[in-house]
Structures are given as structure tokens and as C-alpha cells.
Symmetry: D2
Subunit: 358 residues, 4 copies
């Protein structure tokens, strides 16, 4: 007999969009895939084929798709496939690959150095790379003691909750191509960016010059899994071997790929992202009305960055709210997920308001 573990009902939090669970449509297909009984392993199953085809339709191109377990692996393997150990990758100083992967990109590539763009521009403040910053790093030096730049990596939506416009991506890609660099897009929150832009996924990726996209599924409602999408098949040669060697090939692949069918069918991925973005807007508008709170910039995706009085931060934490203090002294990040409710947003705002008044 299976004993049921006593679930303490949990409050929705704003620490990360990965606090959310699996969305119903992904769960449906997970169970559907299990109902089949025996199924070929390592991706030779029907759901892997189906979700791959759906991604090709979504991106309107015969792309190569590889499902891996998480974002660290997706980004690191994609980058490793675009450069050698003695090359370098240009990125923003707040890029997740630079700040939060414990050296994952360097590990998978066996040493490719991340070159962090400098700059005090408004774009930099918004977490964005610029064509000028790319060119500056490429042309800075050309000696062999400087690892030759080979890739530009941009995060869409950015780590600051902003979104590159199609024109901005194209401009960066043009700067990259001019110097024979490839363009990688860390799309852990790609869905949120597309929801904001309202464009076709193709417009903000390969049509704008992106070579490889790491399309985030986990934050969008999957239990586990990201898709590495190569728009140019010439770049994905033997990538399946790379995935295998690096411990990223699921034997029972259907459980990774079938939930993608749930996200892709009926545009659930976009609906999930649109909802999360809307909750960020609701939080943003609520915060703007509160005295002593300053919002860093208008959110464009599902995260709100705001400066709170430090006492308020402590009070909220004491009340059980979870969110990151991004910058010492009260700089906070609030993330909304596909399942964040209006009530949760309002409850956070109410607790904050009560504290600010108190």
C-alpha cells in the first residue's frame, strides 16, 4: 500500500519561476507516454519524433532538435559545439552562463573563456549586450595569448527581465557575422520574450541571425528538460554523440520529450508565458504605487526588479516570502511563473504595503 506523504500546502513564491510545478498539459502527455508500455529508448520513440516535428513547424524551418536535461547542459553543450577550448564566448556581465553555472561552460568546452562585455550604457543597465560591445571585444586584440572570440551569447529574455527587440538581435548578429562569430541564444525564458514581442519565433531567432537556441522548457511548465535547436544543420554534426558522452541522453527519452508535446500543442508554451508576464506587470504596477519602493525598469518578461527598504525585505522574508535580494541593500528580484495567481501577487503586495506603512 502506498502511503500518502502529508502535503503541507505551500504558498506561491517569487524566488524563481522554477519553484512552479508541471503544467497540466505537460503532465497529460507525460502520463500518455507512460500508458504506451514498452517504447524504444534513446529518442527512437513517437513523442520525440512528434515534439521535434512540432518545433520544426513552430520555427518554420528544418531545424535539428536535441532534448537535454537542464539549462546548464543545454547552454554549455551548445557553446562547446560552436567553439574550441582556445576560443572565447562574448556575453553580458549578468549572463547566467557567466554568473550562475559554476563554470559549466568552461567545463563542457574544456576551457573556452567567457569574455564579459564592459560598458555603462543604458543597454548594459538593462542586461543587454550591444553590437559595439561585441565589436570592441573582438577587435581589442588579435594575438594568440587572447582566446579568439568565436561566439556571441545573448539571453532572451535577459537576466534583468528585459527583452531584446528583433532589431537589437539582428544588429548583434550582424556584428557577430561580420567577425565570423556564431550567435547563441540562451532562451531559458524564450517563451516570455516571444510573448512580450508578439512576433513569430522564427523572427527573433534564425531570421534575425541566431544560429542555436536553447529553448527553455522547465521554467515554462515542464518537469525537466530543455531543447537545443540548431537552425543550421551544418553546425550540429555529431551533436548527438556530444549529448551522449556528456550524460545528457535520456534512456527513457519519451518522458523528456512527451511533455514538450503538451507545451507545443495549442500554444500552451505561449499561454503560460503570457500569463507569467501579465503577473509581472500586475506586480510592477502594484509596486509602483508603494512609497519607498523604486522599480528598476519596466518589466518586459516575467521578472520584476525593484529596490525596497531593507527593513521591508527582512520583514517579508520573516513572513515567509521567498525572493532574491539581488543587490545588497534592498535590490530585489521577483519572478512570476506560469501558475502564479493574481491572489499571490496581491498577497505579496499587501504584506509589503502593510510593512511600509507600519
Amino acid at each position: 500500500m502506498t502511503t500518502t506523504f502529508q502535503l503541507t500546502p505551500t504558498r506561491q513564491q517569487f524566488a524563481s519561476d522554477n519553484y512552479a510545478g508541471t503544467c497540466p498539459e505537460a503532465m497529460h502527455w507525460f502520463m500518455e507516454a507512460n500508458a504506451s508500455g514498452h517504447e524504444p529508448a534513446y529518442g527512437d520513440d513517437r513523442w520525440t519524433q512528434r515534439s521535434t516535428d512540432m518545433l520544426r513547424t513552430l520555427f518554420d524551418i528544418e531545424c535539428d532538435v536535441y532534448f537535454v536535461f537542464n539549462g546548464t547542459a543545454a547552454n554549455s553543450l551548445a557553446l562547446a559545439s560552436l567553439c574550441q577550448s582556445y576560443h572565447s564566448v562574448i556575453c553580458s556581465p549578468v549572463a547566467h552562463i557567466e554568473t550562475d553555472e559554476c563554470g559549466g561552460p568552461e567545463f563542457f568546452s574544456n576551457g573556452s573563456k567567457l569574455m564579459v562585455a564592459e560598458g555603462q550604457s543604458e543597454s548594459a543597465r538593462l542586461g543587454k549586450l550591444t553590437p559595439d560591445a561585441v565589436s570592441a571585444l573582438v577587435t581589442k586584440r588579435s594575438d594568440i595569448h587572447y582566446p579568439r572570440p568565436k561566439v556571441v551569447s545573448i539571453t532572451q529574455a535577459t537576466e534583468m527581465g528585459t527583452v531584446y527587440t528583433v532589431e537589437e538581435v539582428r544588429a548583434i548578429a550582424n556584428a557577430a557575422k561580420k567577425h565570423q562569430l556564431k550567435v547563441h541564444m540562451d532562451g531559458a525564458r524564450f517563451a516570455n520574450a516571444v510573448a512580450h514581442l508578439g512576433c513569430a519565433p522564427a523572427d527573433i531567432t534564425w531570421r534575425a541571425g541566431v544560429d542555436v537556441l536553447c529553448f527553455g522548457g522547465t521554467k515554462n511548465g515542464l518537469p525537466v528538460g530543455e531543447a537545443v535547436v540548431f537552425f543550421d544543420k551544418a553546425m550540429s554534426e555529431d551533436f548527438a554523440y556530444r549529448v551522449k558522452q556528456a550524460g545528457q541522453l535520456a534512456s527513457k527519452m519519451r518522458f523528456i520529450s512527451a511533455p514538450w508535446v503538451g507545451l507545443l500543442e495549442n500554444n500552451v508554451w505561449l499561454r503560460n508565458a503570457t500569463h507569467a508576464n501579465a503577473m509581472a506587470q500586475r506586480l510592477y504596477h502594484g509596486l509602483q504605487k508603494l512609497p519607498g519602493v523604486s522599480v528598476a525598469h519596466t518589466p518586459e518578461a516575467n521578472g520584476v526588479f525593484a529596490h525596497l527598504p531593507e527593513a521591508a525585505v527582512h520583514a517579508l522574508h520573516a513572513k515567509g516570502w521567498k525572493f532574491y535580494q539581488f543587490i545588497a541593500g534592498g535590490g530585489c528580484r521577483f519572478m512570476c511563473a506560469w501558475d502564479t495567481t493574481e491572489a499571490s501577487v496581491d498577497a505579496l503586495l499587501a504584506d509589503l504595503q502593510a510593512q511600509l506603512k507600519g
Copy 2:
């Protein structure tokens, strides 16, 4: 509206135990974990804690447990933590880490060489390493051009469907310790070995001298996931960082760990394995009765190795049966899973018998 993909009912196969799906108990806890709503990420959730505690109880020791995505990663990361790039790992020539990981152990360790034991002994024929083979490789050379052996890796149950006895493991571990080597156990089918031996999990692991066990969950009924179990915490220092860097840390960890609760509760893991082993016995006894079929050795776990007339192999494949021809000329492997039915075994035997008569 979610459209249901038309499932073609699938036949049970004998190609691999990873053709099977997720067992009901694991599925139950997967859904249970999802019902919770928001939950801290990266393992700070209740199911990770609970399944870890259950493994400590199961192994009767305060072990360190890390959940990773698959066996390639579990074994490669465990081995990498036991040696440096200029060391070597001793294993059997049929060890999965040697033959089927596309260089994964060498990749994660940045170059540790696998030293394959030689030998024509009966043990070697059964896929087992021996203390003598270990000692021979360690003492063969002691110059710095020879990567210094630091680890012995054994697979339990072996890739040949046999199981090391407690005494055999202890003898190998003693030989290893004598030369200051660590002992790693690839337990992709650890449950099947324990089911065969009928011993306590502790008896065949740390009490017999094993330092690290990679406990396979996927083949035992999980959708995805293996547990790396360090019996000596001194060896797991900073292993969490290693897991993170190597792209093996699940953000929504509960979906990896909660199904383990399902396996561990009420000894489902052992029941699943016992059933799979029994199906292998059924198949073994059936095969023995067939003319022209010779079974390599008595199965001890969930796989049967037999030599079939080549025409029979082709005929079965033509009829839609999937299984591996291990050795050219008719050497075949048949794997049974936690869900393999008697009817499936009998159907395979019937088709084979019909073919042999024909």
C-alpha cells in the same frame, strides 16, 4: 483543447529494460510532488529530503546521496570524484563504462584512462572482474608513463546478467584497498543483484568495501534518474558543485527525487527487480527446452544470454521482436523489465519455437 495522440498499442520487447515505462508507485509520487504547487528548487524540497532519508535507512548508514539524470552521468561523476585525470580506473572489458558511454568517463574526468582487465578465466566469461586481475593491472608498472590506478569499478549485476556474491565483492575490495584503490559499483541493475542475492543492500556495498554506489533507478521503474551514494562522506566533499557544473542538478528536483519515494516505499524497488529476475528465469527455462538454442550461462539477474540459429534471429526480428544480437552469428541478449509479463515471455518463446520447427 488537448488532442490525444493516437497510441498504437505496443508489444513488450526484450531489447532493454529501459524500454519499460514508469511504475505506478513512481508515477504516484511524481503526481503527488506536482500537487504541492510551488516548491524550493535544486533539492531543497521535501521529497529530496525524504528519499535521501529513505536511502540512508535502506543502506543502514549516514550516506551522502546525490540524484542525477542518468547512468552515464552517475558513473562518470562518481569516478571523476575518485581520481584525477592522470589516474586510471580498472574495470572489466565488458564494463558498460568501457563499451557504451561514448567516452563519458574520460570526458568527465578530463582523461582518466580505463584499464581493462585481461583474462580468459571463468569469471571473465561471466563478465566479472577478479582480485587477481586487479592486482595484475596495479602491479604491472609503476612508472609515470602509466596512469596510476586509483579506482576499481565493478558492475552489479554485471553486463552479462550475472551477480557478484558478497564474498566476491569483498575479495575485490580487499585487493583494491591493499593498493589504496577506491571501489566504485555501477549499480544500473543493483536492485536485480540484491533481489538475486537476498542480502541486505549494506552487505553487498559498504560492508563489503564499496565506497560509492551508483544506484540505478531508471531501469527499475523510474522515468529518469539515478542516485549516487557515497558511503564515506569524506569522499563526497564538494560533490554538489561537481554535479551542478556538469549539468546534472535538476532545478525542479522534486520530479527526480519524488519518484524515488515510490520505489523505496514498501520495497517496490525490490519487488520490481524480483519480478524482472523471475521473468528472466522463465525465459531461460523456456529457451533451454528449445532445440538449437544454447544458453550461455544461468541468468542471475534480469537478462538472458543465448545463442540462437542465425535464421531464427532474423525471423524473430522480422516478426517485430526487438532484442540485441550481442555477438555476430547469433549471440543474443534478452532483457526483462519490471513490467514484463509472463504472456510476453511465452509469446517470444512460442514464436521462436515455431521458427525452429519450421
Copy 3:
């Protein structure tokens, strides 16, 4: 018959101290080692033993010594031996390991990230790391997404031609030890630092808390070769294997080690460095007298950093002088070597003076 290649007499340059050749004493022992005829390979020769013993005497401790081919390898292997791939190394933003090794440290360590200290302090301007900067990086974060700091690396003399005092090294080492970090010293110009400080080599290394020193031989007068000196033998376990695997073990080792006898005998290493430092002082004093030239800071080793009018830079380059324009707009570096003559310094100054007047 051996034809003599027509040597164009070359002018002494200030681009790098590695433009200089081999000093006579090193050359003497190189030839001496060759006169021996057959000699055991891989370091089992008399000169390797002798030079190792001399280094032990010099440092007044039973240190472990490994001779490798160049500074990239010396530093990268030493760092790799002090941390794992998921750890990090704290260094100055101008550290050679960060700016000029083409990702060598990340390659040899398979991904250890270099953590560059920030800061606008006077120490930072002088190319030095500070205890505060070390502590700030260590305590900044403690999550597993941030590669755990394990090593502090300082360059002595620094890349800016300054020298850490004994107290400064001790303060950094104390900050490091407080956080269980090891201390690595990149001593490509260690001799120049000791010549400046006038202290015992032990005082500025192990007595001040340094764990491993990469003692530069090439810039000090060797044809090729650096010594990795472990003051604590517990840290050098199996380092010989690491050196071998990484392609840094010379078969005819005597030709790497014998020249070290030349440097170490009669304190030639110190004499060479003292001379180079004096030439830098001569250049510094000469530059100070020139209008339009501003020297960045008082040189303490063998390099002078000065800002010249850009036209003067071009004119000197046009006249055949080689030196690096460190910073766009006229920030230049002039390096003096063990063989730099007063006449060369004066010739450079005269050409510059003529240009400034013109």
C-alpha cells in the same frame, strides 16, 4: 659542412624580457650537461638532482620541485593541482593567467573559473590584489551556482612592474587561509621581486604563507624552463603524473635542469635580476626628465610603465624600437632584461628626446 646563417646584428629591445637570450652561466651548464654523453631520461640525471637540491637550499626548506617548459604550463598545472574544475581562483584583473594565457588555466583545470577582483584602490592601480578583495570574492556568495574559491593567485613581481612587500603577501595569505584557500605565486619575475626586496626567498614565499611558487627561469636568463616549487609536499602528491600527462615532462630533462644550475650557482639569478631592475631605474629616471612623458608609478622590478605622446610612440616604432603600447593613446610598457645595456637604455631615451623636441 655547417653553413653559418648570416646573423644580422640585432638591437636590444624593450618589448619583453623574453627577447633576451640565454645567459652565459646557463649556457655553460647546458654544454656541460651535453658533454656527459648518455644520461638517464625524464629527470633521473645528475643536473636535475643538483638543481633541485640547490633550490631546496635557496628556499631553506625540503620543497618539491618540478621543471616544466614554460610559464603557461607552470601556472596552469600548479593551479589545477590546488583546485577541482568546479572551484575558482581569485586573481587581479591584470593577472597574466587572466589576460595572456589563452584560457590555459581553464584548459588544464578543465574549467576552474578565474574570479577577477574588483576595486579602484591604489593597490589595484599598482596591479596588486588585496586581502579585502580576496575576502569580498569569497564571501560574496556561497551557493553551488558560484564556483567555490579555493586558490588565491598573486604575481610577484606584478604585471605592472610593482612588488608585493612581505607584509602584503602575508596579509593576503592570511585572508586566504582564513577561508581555507591555497596561495599560488606566479613568479615569472620572482627574481626581480627578490632583488627589489632584498629579502630571503623563503621570506616572501612559504614563510609568508605561499603554498606553491612558479619560479620563472626563462625571463631570468634560461633558454626554456620554469620551476614549480611546492613548499608543502602534501600538495604535490602525484604531481609528476600530472606533468607527464600534460606534455610537460622533458625526456632529455638535463637540458632543462642543467641551465638552472647556472642560474642558481653564485646567485646568478639574483645578479641577473638586479641588473635588469637597475636598467629599469635608469630608464625611469631618464623618462622623468623628458617633457610630455609621465611615468605611471615608480618601477620596483624590471618594467617601466609610462605615458608618451602618441606621435612619439609612432616615431619610436618607426625607428625600429619594439615595445608594447599597453593602453591605447600612448600608455607604454618598457621591459629590461638581464642583458639590457646602459647604452641601449640611453639610445632609446635619446631617440625619444629627439622626437619630443622635433
Copy 4:
């Protein structure tokens, strides 16, 4: 004053050709290069240019040449440039890259697996790979769990003192090309092979299908250094960066490259090798006359493999002779160098003869 270390005159040995010192012509150019005074670093010097040009003339093709420090690095870097970590390299079981590099190739390539050819053929006994063995390993499996073969590596002369004929190399290269594999030649004793064959260096390399040659200088009379020669420049893209990152770029490059001028001028490399080969023949003929000694096969390069009574092996070792007991029970290897004298060969034979009679 420089004290002269008391040189004990050493006996010539047969342990390895790397026991020999630097030949006079290499020494001449080493000193010549030093006489120049200041010289640009990192290969922008006259001797690097000159020796590179001489190698182009020697090989009769516009090849790309890189000078590195030793054979471990030369072979490992060349192989790493021809495949990715998830690929594999096919070689003989006695290949030096497999048996004596402490995992160097796996380290530099971050995990490329060496695939050892099996076989009991006469060729295998002579240390040679065959086209059939290559094809067998390539076609053995095609799944992603098996690292895809990308390179064939052959050693010329082999580790068994034999030499591939031009036809043999061409046949292997043809088999390789048929499967889109590149061909690497470990030429640690390339000169000895050419001396035996009497062919043009081009005939046994690029004209026979070799893509990259590691041309050994050390065993041929250099103090330190090997040349990596890419016959197809398309394969050497960014190889200079790889060399730099891997710690194989000499700052004072002239001291590595100038001695090559000495080897290449007047065909000293060939003369040195011819002499060493002749000494091996002398030893071979001498051994054949001794009772109780059986020579494994006719030497074609500079090594003799013979089986001696074990007591004789011990007696020779006791008399101070150094040579390797290759196989337990008396299988010995005797290597001759560029400077081995007839007297040394005869003295060894005399001592052996005396022992056998005794």
C-alpha cells in the same frame, strides 16, 4: 666564478635513444641563435622561419609547421585537432599514445577514446596496424554509445622497431579515407623510418595519405622539441591558439627552432638516423650469434627486440647496463641512438657473451 661539477664519464646505454645528448650540429645552431642577442619571442624569429622553410622544402609541400616541446604534446595536440571529445582514435595496442602517455591524448582531447586494434596477424606481431583492423573497428558499431572513429594513428617507425612500407601506409590511409578518417603519423622515430626506406619524406607521408606528422627531433639529436607538420592547411586552423593554450608555445622559440636548422641542414637528421639504424643492425647480428638469445624479428629502425635468458638479463643489469625488459621472462628492448658507437655495441655483446658462457 663558475665551478665545474665533476662529471663522471658515463657509459653509453641501450635503454632509450633519449639517453643520448644533443648532436653537434644542433648545438652549433643553439649557440648561433644565442649569439644574436635580442630576438622577437613566440616564433617571430629568424630560426623559426628558416627551419619551417627547410621543412617545407624537405617535404616538398607548403605545409604548416608548429614546434612543440615533446612527443606527448605533439601527438596529443595533433590528435585533438583532428577529432572532438566524443570521437575516437584507432591505433595499435602497442602504440606509444596508448601505452606510455599517462592518458595524455585523452587529456588534451578532453576524452577522445583510443580504440585499440585487435588481431593476431603477423603485422600485429610486428607492431603494425592493418587496413582490415581499421575497417573492423570503424564498422563494428554505429550507435552513439560508441565514440565515432575519426582518426587513424600509426607510429613510424613502430614501437617494435619495424617500419611501414610506403604501400602499407597507403593501404591504411585508403582504408581511413574510405571511412572519412584522418591519418596521423607518430614520427618520434620518423627519421629512422626514412633512413630504412630510402624514400623521400613526402612519399611516406602526404603522398601516401598522411594528414599530420609529428616529426620527432629529440631522439634524432635535439635537446628538446618536436615538429607538428600539417600537410593540409585546412586542418591546422587556429592550431597556434591550441599550442599556446596547452602550454606548448616557447617564448624564446629560437632555442627550440634553431637546433632544427642543424638537423635539417646537410641532412644531418638522416645521417643521425642512418647511423643509429646501423648500430641496431650491428647489435642484431651480434645477438644472432649468441646461444640462448632469440631475436624477435629483423630490426628495421634503431631498436632490437630479443629474448635473453633471464639470468643474463639480471647479470647485464648488475654490470650497469641499462635496457628495458619489455616482456617479463627475458623479452628485452635495446635502443641505439645517433651517437651510439660500435665500441658500445661490442662491449654490450661481449658482456652478454661472457655471461652466457659463464
